[in-house]
Every structure is written in structure tokens, then in C-alpha cells.
Subunit: 95 residues, 2 copies
């Protein structure tokens, strides 16, 4: 059973009121490091078999037709979630 992750963010020129609310709340909780916050969406799509290139292509198509609104949002990632998990370890190791 494979899983594909699709990530969608508001385009940079689009106002993001949820992100603005978060960036306003952070300093009140003592987090003063962060200068800007954007909030988007993360989808996990499950398939019965392996994540083949065809499945990834279908996920990309679904990402632009259903999971995002191309006028105001960008699809920032479509990836096999297992590779994604491996990548997380790497990025935390680098930090």
C-alpha cells in the first residue's frame, strides 16, 4: 500500500489571513524568531499497490484539478511518501 503526498501553498502574491493570524500569535507565546508565516494544505493519497510513475502522474493531475485552485495556489510538492519519510531523517540530520 503506497501513499502520495501532495502539498499546496497560497501563491506568494495572495494574502494569507490564516498565516497572518499565526504570525501575530507566535510572539505572544514567546516565539519571536519568526517573521512571516504562510499556511497551506497537505494531502495524503493512498493507493492499493506501489506508487508507480503513473500513480504520481495521476496525483499531479488531481493536484492541479481538484486539490488546488490554480488561480490562488501553487502545488509545491507531489511525492512518494516513503521517499519523503527518508528525506525527513536527512533534513533533520542536516539541521
Amino acid at each position: 500500500m503506497g501513499r502520495v503526498v501532495v502539498e499546496v501553498m497560497p501563491k506568494p502574491e495572495i494574502l494569507d489571513p490564516q498565516g497572518k493570524a499565526v504570525v501575530g500569535a507566535l510572539p505572544r507565546l514567546g516565539f519571536t524568531q519568526f517573521t512571516s508565516v504562510r499556511q497551506g494544505k497537505r494531502f495524503e493519497l493512498e493507493v492499493d499497490g506501489e506508487v508507480t510513475p503513473e500513480v504520481l502522474a495521476a496525483a499531479e493531475q488531481a493536484a492541479v484539478t481538484l486539490l488546488s485552485n490554480p488561480v490562488i495556489e501553487d502545488v509545491v510538492r507531489v511525492a512518494d511518501i516513503e521517499a519523503d519519510a527518508a528525506a525527513t531523517v536527512t533534513s533533520q540530520g542536516l539541521a
Copy 2:
């Protein structure tokens, strides 16, 4: 200027009506591969300098106190977005 990505998903045992709506709509658009969909959130937090281990630790703390509701959501990733971008290339290369 560094950016940290924080990803939050509903816990597996929690009903996810947005994901259910998406999985119902996909077959109507011709996408029959996907058996289940979960919808979560993706945040991009911007900092002025580098993404240091301290910044990542603060982002993790913010993730569990403000960006997620620990009763119904899991923080699935907190990572430097540059490492993340490199990882995306890798995961698409593997696919």
C-alpha cells in the same frame, strides 16, 4: 533568510471529513487509483537568519503548542525547507 516547514495531519483514528469529500470527488473526475485521502496543514515559517538547531527546536515547540491541536492532530514533519527541496528532487527521482 531561512524557512522551516511544519506539517500537521489529523490522527489516524480521527474522522477527516475534508479527506472524505476529496476521496468521493476523485472518481467522478476519473481518478480511480486512490482509496483513501487525508487532509492536513502545511506551514512555512520564515526566519531572518539561518535555520539553526535552535530555530528548529522553537518551530517544533510552536508546532505542538499553536500550529496543531495535539488531541486530534499529529505533527508529521518539522524541517529546514532547503533540505526539504533537495529531498523533493530525490523522491521524484526515485519514483
